[in-house]
Point group: C2
Chain length 147, copies 2
């Protein structure tokens, strides 16, 4: 299993160096933003612990840490909608990752069956705020699959 | 100031409804992913409290909560690189936001002066991992500006 370096105390090394030293938070997690490698749509925001990150890098298939189920989570294991990783980037202070992926199966990432988790727009007017659907529909019947 | 609804206990309302009820975490924050409205590049990952989110929606210019400085942060106030918000989306369980923005000034979002904070790729091979620069250079001398 890949092991990760301890983040350096020196800010310049962290930001300008070429040592990968992800800054896991107090819960042992980094934030991962996942976009479609084809058109750049943001598909989801998830979290990874060291094991999920190592498995993702070793297998080329995205793994996460499920905070709701408190378990390692190979995305697509139930639905077949695996995420094949095209590349992984880290940000300046190495506490966030950006994965560009190609989604297999139904091309659906959201557990609601939709392609992206971001299917509602926030609309503010006259001091009030509401959501508007972008019209995207489930690509498959996610309820038929056990979670 | 815009006020936000309390998240419903009912999962279906949260995920399929049109009431915006952001799920701020224990620190009062939601995660915000920021992409360039033109080409979809992920520019940064940041955090917003209720005030930053309300100001963003009311003014159309992105505001965040700086966890390192523990203060409200109008992005670009020092550098002139304001983020003009094209749209804001929320995800299925309303604990993350996706902002599409047009960046003013030097078209640079990262405090290092680069366009995006994600300027390094994670490269894994033979059980080892390192970073590779994508070659992006600072768009301006960020060091000349006081932080």
């Amino acid at each position: 299993m890949i092991e990760f370096a301890t983040p350096p105390a020196d800010k310049k090394s962290l930001e300008e160096g070429l040592t990968f030293s992800p800054r896991f938070d107090a819960a042992g997690l980094v934030t991962a933003v996942v976009t479609d490698a084809g058109d750049g749509t943001v598909l989801m925001v998830a979290h990874m612990n060291a094991e999920a990150l190592a498995l993702t890098l070793e297998t080329g298939v995205a793994h996460y840490w499920s905070r709701s189920r408190n378990t390692l989570w190979k995305k697509g294991e139930t639905s077949g909608n695996f995420q094949h990783v095209v590349d992984v980037r880290t940000d300046c202070d190495q506490d966030a990752l950006w994965l560009r992926v190609k989604v297999a199966g139904h091309d659906a990432t959201c557990h609601t069956g939709r392609r992206s988790c971001f299917y509602r727009t926030v609309v503010a007017a006259g001091g009030r705020v509401r959501l508007a659907s972008d019209g995207s529909e489930p690509q498959f019947d996610a309820q038929k699959l056990s979670k």
